[in-house]
């Protein structure tokens, strides 16, 4: 054992790298330790708001920040005196189906 103590996972030291602090005891569950020590752990889902920043005109325009949320709706904040905020909501169409009752055709076989 590198630090002289047996850890829950073989070949993984039972301590954090220098510079890191743990909110949980180092003797926590192995899963917590793996999260803390891992590099690519996703803390949030892959679906996030998309942010686009720029100027309304490339040299003279006021800066803006457009945030498109996971619903596809966009909030655009402008760096103007009145802190203008534009909203663009995209709504899905309402689809309705008329479901007719099945028709039964009877024939007289006599």
């Amino acid at each position: 054992m590198p630090n002289g103590r047996p850890g829950p996972t073989p070949n993984v030291p039972d301590s954090l790298p220098s510079g890191y602090t743990s909110v949980a005891p180092v003797s926590g569950t192995p899963i917590d330790r793996e999260k803390l020590l891992s590099i690519g752990h996703l803390r949030r889902g892959r679906t996030r708001a998309k942010v686009r920043e720029g100027r309304e005109h490339h040299e003279t325009g006021k800066p803006f920040k457009a945030t498109t949320d996971e619903l596809g709706n966009t909030t655009t904040e402008h760096a103007t005196k009145d802190d203008r905020v534009d909203i663009r909501v995209r709504v899905k169409p309402i689809h309705l189906n008329f479901c007719a009752a099945p028709v039964t055709i009877q024939t007289d076989s006599q």
Partner: protein
């Protein structure tokens, strides 16, 4: 208690098709769009009209979006009409209009849009649109973009 879906109001459709013979003309530009927060719970089966529960409390209003909403005649870009249309195509009925775009609006926490017949005495509810989240423009452009398929599509030949 929350907005969960978009839909068309059943009670209005019943009144159009039964002996009431409610005269809803979907091509009118006098219909209005009123906004509501997520504190209401739309019921597309039983709700009847604007200013009748649950649309009689909490309406979202503000600068350039008065109580009662904005008429379609002035709801498109530049204060022009959204020009609603009702057409038949390939066994379907399509209700469509230009996007809503109202300038210099300020209001808070709009979650739901109610389209209703302002020209009728009953202010009958036509359809409701769920935005999915709360939106708050500030002295800005408020747009509702409709899908290329239309605002609603009724497939009469499924």
């Amino acid at each position: 208690m929350a907005v969960t879906a978009s839909g068309i109001y059943c009670a209005t459709i019943v009144d159009v098709l039964d002996a009431t013979q409610l005269a809803i003309d979907l091509s009118l530009t006098s219909h209005k769009i009123a906004l509501f927060p997520n504190s209401i719970t739309p019921n597309f089966t039983t709700d009847t009209a604007w200013n009748v529960s649950p649309y009689n409390t909490g309406e979202v209003t503000g600068t350039n979006w008065a109580s009662g909403g904005v008429a379609l005649s002035a709801a498109a870009a530049g204060g022009t009409s959204t020009s609603p249309t009702l057409t038949a195509s390939s066994g379907t009925v399509v209700y469509d209009m230009a996007n809503v775009a109202v300038s210099a609006t300020t209001f808070s926490n709009a979650r739901f849009a109610l389209l209703y017949a302002d020209a009728l005495a009953g202010n009958n509810a036509i359809l409701g649109l769920n935005f999915g989240a709360d939106y708050s423009p500030n002295a800005g452009l408020f747009e509702i973009l409709f899908d290329a398929a239309g605002v609603f599509v009724i497939d009469l030949t499924p």
